[in-house]
Symmetry: C2
Subunit: 140 residues, 2 copies
DNA sequence: CTATACTTGCAAATGCTTCTCATTTACATG
DNA sequence: CATGTAAATGAGAAGCATTTGCAAGTATAG
């Protein structure tokens, strides 16, 4: 975790942000979370590690990190936003409507196709989010 | 507009909903809007046509219609939701980050690919939304 | 070590959306 | 066409996720 710490700290510095233990805590927790937590869940988990983290700071940290490109926010319908460390490769997200579970779906083919289409319209992609509500198929 | 009216009325009846002039107004306005208006914009426009439409009713109408599958809600980041008459063919949405303008992007190739990938994972698609933030490319 | 600009905590504020409840209305029935 | 009743509406209050104001705390340059 030590190597990871210095990595996070450097990322913060690169983004022109001060290295505070609250930010380090949030980043560490987010990195360890495979389930794309909401701000609320993140706050709960952060609090267990570092009692001195407030709700407001979780939100402020997340938007600072998002602006710096280190974190991505996933808005799904009218549900609370969920967050993930910015992924190296772009991917879409499936949400199981019955369980709420979130699954990642990577496809370089789709990405390529999409980039080409957007390009043809004279635009360049700034950011993108695909959220697909799915249901498990009944066993055949 | 007369033919369209009876069409809307029938759609409402099919969905088990009563035909009220408020609902007719909202549907007509939404049908005529090419810009995917928010509930607020829809309310403003509806009010001009029919003074007796309230904010609450716009929201209630939209969710009733959404539940009936006649309307689709687009949630984009933390911005207010926008709405469109449920499209015949699935398509993605681009939002110009500078102007807020929304453009539709249809690609049967992407849809097919996506369906296949989701299918492979053992799921079936219930609904999907892709929102791509874009910026106009500088002229070359 | 000190200065200072950036951060934080707390609580209040905000903004979109939903709900409550009294009143009105659509429409099946006589 | 009159009437009963369940559904729909208007106005405003309530709810919830997120943001903000301000006083106090703290990272970091010098």
């Amino acid at each position: 975790m030590c190597a990871q710490s210095t990595e996070f700290a450097q990322a913060l510095r690169d983004a022109g942000l001060r290295v505070t233990h609250q930010r380090m805590t949030v980043m560490a927790i987010l990195k360890d979370s495979v389930d794309h937590p909401s701000a609320d869940e993140l706050f709960e988990r952060a609090r267990k590690v570092d009692g001195a983290v407030s709700f407001a700071t979780v939100y402020r940290t997340l938007s600072a990190l998002e602006e710096a490109g280190l974190v991505r926010k996933l808005t799904f319908e009218s549900d609370p936003a969920r967050f993930e460390i910015t992924p190296a490769a772009e991917h879409d997200h499936l949400v199981d409507v019955d369980t709420g579970e979130m699954i990642e779906l990577a496809s370089e083919d789709i990405n390529r196709l999409r980039r080409a289409l957007v390009d043809d319209l004279g635009y360049e992609i700034v950011a993108q989010t695909t959220l697909i509500r799915v249901r498990k198929k009944p066993a055949p």
